[in-house]
Symmetry: C2
Subunit: 114 residues, 2 copies
DNA sequence: TAGATATTCACCCAAATGGATGAATATCCT
DNA sequence: AGGATATTCATCCATTTGGGTGAATATCTA
């Protein structure tokens, strides 16, 4: 559980369509707060808040240049999240394929040659 | 964006440590509400609510058997989430490798042979 | 039938969330 | 200096969330 620090913040940040769109937009290149806010029907302030949530999760990094703040996507938390999900999927797949049942069946039967 | 229906519910459900533990527990096999609740310091009712959130995201499925409700993990939403994350990572990696900058640099310079 | 067990339903509550607005701050430009 | 621009800060508000409790419902069992 503590194997994945920050996973909470990461998934919370990703669990909002506006924030996911912001991240997608940043794939096209760094952008200022105003640029990021432009496509959305909500206020600039609200977008500013969303960005702060993304920053808290370290999904975006901020670089100030005069009065402009440039945001850049940081892939690391995304990779951690992908790892956690992959781990779960592997465990579930294992079960679904019935391999563990077969193995425990074998040990239950007490096979002599290991 | 609508390419990933349910992603909101999926990520929201995953963005809670209790719910992630419940999912992890289900990798070991189907379990009843009471079984799932046992390890947690919170009330059975609260766990029941968490399970409902997981159900809403279709991350778990319920099979009633008399008074007992057996929960099972469903990997599909997790796979969709993994796909979205993978897509983002690919886009960002593309940028970080600088390939798009090189390409846009080329077009900015107006190369004659396309 | 009566009691125990498994689960949800109906509320209550404090804290967080996503939105808004208006004012403050900092920087740029003339 | 003074105005425009970029961004955040401070509030406010309605809704959601994660927790709790007590009562209802359904099922099993003695």
């Amino acid at each position: 559980m503590d194997e994945y620090p920050g996973l909470d913040a990461t998934l919370t940040a990703l669990a909002d369509p506006t924030r996911r769109e912001i991240l997608a937009r940043l794939a096209a290149g760094d952008a200022r707060v105003t640029d990021l806010a432009a496509p959305f029907p909500i206020s600039l302030n609200s977008v500013s808040k969303h960005i702060r949530v993304l920053e808290r999760a370290d999904l975006v990094r901020r670089r100030r240049q005069g009065r402009e703040h440039f945001l850049a996507a940081n892939p690391e938390p995304l990779e951690a999240a992908a790892r956690w999900i992959g781990e779960q999927r592997a465990l579930w797949a294992w079960r679904l394929e019935g391999l563990d049942q077969i193995l425990s069946e074998e040990s239950r039967l007490g096979r002599r040659d290991p």
